[in-house]
Symmetry: C3
Subunit: 365 residues, 3 copies
Amino acid sequence: MALRSFTSPASFAKTHKQIQPNKALPLFSISFSTPKCHAYTIKNPTTSLKAKPNFQLEDVIESQQFDRDLLNGIFEVAQEMEAIEKDVSSPGSNMLKGYLMATLFYEPSTRTRLSFESAMKRLGGEVLTTENAREFSSAAKGETLEDTIRTVEGYSDIIVLRHFESGAAKRAAATAKIPVINAGDGPGQHPTQALLDVYTIKREIGRLNGIKLGLVGDLANGRTVRSLAYLIAMYPDIKIYFVSPDVVKMKDDIKDYLTKSGVEWEESSDLLEVASKCDVVYQTRIQKERFGERIDLYEAARGKYIVDKKVLEVMQKHAVVMHPLPRLDEITVEVDDDPRAAYFRQAKNGLYIRMALLKLLLLGW
Amino acid sequence: MALRSFTSPASFAKTHKQIQPNKALPLFSISFSTPKCHAYTIKNPTTSLKAKPNFQLEDVIESQQFDRDLLNGIFEVAQEMEAIEKDVSSPGSNMLKGYLMATLFYEPSTRTRLSFESAMKRLGGEVLTTENAREFSSAAKGETLEDTIRTVEGYSDIIVLRHFESGAAKRAAATAKIPVINAGDGPGQHPTQALLDVYTIKREIGRLNGIKLGLVGDLANGRTVRSLAYLIAMYPDIKIYFVSPDVVKMKDDIKDYLTKSGVEWEESSDLLEVASKCDVVYQTRIQKERFGERIDLYEAARGKYIVDKKVLEVMQKHAVVMHPLPRLDEITVEVDDDPRAAYFRQAKNGLYIRMALLKLLLLGW
Amino acid sequence: MALRSFTSPASFAKTHKQIQPNKALPLFSISFSTPKCHAYTIKNPTTSLKAKPNFQLEDVIESQQFDRDLLNGIFEVAQEMEAIEKDVSSPGSNMLKGYLMATLFYEPSTRTRLSFESAMKRLGGEVLTTENAREFSSAAKGETLEDTIRTVEGYSDIIVLRHFESGAAKRAAATAKIPVINAGDGPGQHPTQALLDVYTIKREIGRLNGIKLGLVGDLANGRTVRSLAYLIAMYPDIKIYFVSPDVVKMKDDIKDYLTKSGVEWEESSDLLEVASKCDVVYQTRIQKERFGERIDLYEAARGKYIVDKKVLEVMQKHAVVMHPLPRLDEITVEVDDDPRAAYFRQAKNGLYIRMALLKLLLLGW
């Protein structure tokens, strides 16, 4: 008899741990100035690359909970998922049969939701969906997130939470007896996006050590580039170039963190020169919604750094262009047909990363 | 060959009955002053507890269709569902494989919807979802509910209907050739909530005879407490205490019905005294939306009877606190960790009751 | 090993064709004045009725891509689907196990969405749903349809697209490496509705040759009647009667097309006389939204031609009433119980047609 609710590895680990160390901590802060590489769900990270980590992954809440060994472990599983996903009759396609994932989305994000739901279904699992929990659910009547979690955990085996408030995922994980995955909590974290970005660099370039990375566009507001800078800093010999309009420059907390971590970085206003040196040009969308009524500033910032044919011409043959999507015109469509345009492959890698995380949280290593 | 649409027990019973007695009846009224214990879907209730009822449950529309024997039969099946739900590899987990449930929700209710959809999927069935049929569907173009039902019954094996109009579920059931479950129709009925409440009392206290029940909070507007009072009155030696602000007192129809049914009841303004005597303290939310612009009355009513540590202190050891959820602050969070806080277990029991009903409607006893 | 993404027949055909002939074409026009019977997805239509077409159906985009042989092939498969749908334990119920359909709906249409999702699930496939992609997805941030398609094709095996812009489905199909089905693109096409209409005539009357068809109601704005007229014209000895208020008469492009195709047609203002002659009376809803502020014109048009008991009295015994639904009062409810009222059977036929198309696109003939 395979007991569902109490012996799935993450649930067992969650319900049997004697101390929940984060219960008394203040809500999660997005500042990286005090890096916590070994956060609460990682007790004993292993050091050998091809070995299973000797701990159970309990929740996926923030980039800081991952170290290199854990990342490598997840990436190995993600790569196994590529084969399962391609083969409709693979036995792996049934590994999550009987398991139920609840996608509790307090703000709509069709792309992220479909990616998680596809991941669950590609492994034979089932899904309960809420596309717009904020408007449609008891939250509208004033119910706390904690109460909602306590109810939904009774109907499912794992919760994927998207929320508009920073720290919501950590609160949910502290309440839930089943695993919680953070699918973005407001200006806070979006750890699966960070994982898929690093995984994409590894898959596209073939390594993570010694990567030269150009971060382009809205570096002030994009949680994506902040998380990526944080994670890539774990690897040796990294060089990062920041290329952004003045109004949306990378903030000091990340710069300080990189310096302390021994990562070389510099700011540049010459996209072509940076592109010619980098392994990865990571473009981002200028987020109009952050400019309020200053449409003039937005328009100026938006047109400044565009990845187009000219950028491709100076890029090295092995290098790639990435983007977290959606894009507007910061990458021109003429780039799409170039083999170095990796952004749709990157979106696809989100599927493999999420398949891997669902497998690890529900079945263990 | 297992024919789906015509020989599933409820469909067969529905399409082969010669008279549909309710077709000419006026729309369902929420008044309980003329109780109809043996309503139209119950032809020959049995009297032996452990035997299968010798009739087919066709639809689940209103509390009045249930009598004690039917409740006991459903509760036995619900308890079997607890084992199935816990074991991911249980054969029961596939009993509804190939069956399709349509959740037709004309007003959003994420909690109820997820509970039904989880129930269906825990038994191996599949789901078609409409989260907001009122806004998104042909209803917006003026289609009648009956026409919608005639279309949707062609795509599914059972319909779970949530509607904003009292009587909608009865109209749907009269039209549909497949079973219909009422998941709440406006100010009308929410029979699965009533069933899970009674089931929870049975599971928590161990019996239904001789229960002392304190109903607290908004007794005027809450269909939950009205239905619970109606159902519990079927059992012997019941005592009910009503504890509510004056503006939301229990209405006379239920009081009259209880008196006629031989149920002892009294009103009290002393929550502590009532709590010390009861097996079950059933707290409810004061529904702000019923007070219109009289926010002052709402605020006064809202703070009057709170279940907190002080109430727990006077409650007996075997007694429990229940609440239909969502709650605001009418039960303080300090109560949550007490083993007598039964409200999240109560929400979970909704899953077992709905699994049982789906099984009974689609496969029979 | 059954490779999913690259060897499903339609995907294989799509990704291996050397020329994509429509890439350079202007966006699809709804004018039928230049009929294109052999459109881009039909390379070598067969001529023998009971043989498999010797080409792979790649996408379902517009009525013009179908010819008689292809229609007959699809209808044969649809009829096989009727048996599969009725038998919960049929092996056919698992034929799409492991396949994932994404319903990408940019405008809500619950009826169409549920029909497609039911079709997929009746064959054992799984579904990713977006009920309202326009409001909830990256489209709101300015992402192009093409980018959305490139992302969603990474998460699924087939895309069902509903869009508010004419030509959207053709653009999506040109982008996607997986099959795309048009579930209605604005004022453009709704080809599965057209197929189910013709299939219904065949199932109800027993043949398609020599049909006498009365098209009633809003003939100017209804894409349904336009597509039906277009498809039925492929069969010999067709006679069409147009019965409509003056403000919503059939447009000249269809009339010219019918004349060129050798189809006899006439306009009439005598519904009873037409009904007495026809095999099929196809009633439609007058679309209020097309009249703007001229409510007076709408009200006049709306009441003019009603299918009621009097129409039934003059209709032949073998004839049927059809309607694409939803209906308001253009068919009175008293008609519903007559065996010649075929409109709910017609809705059900949509399920069989969509099951057939999903099977053909994912598994081939």
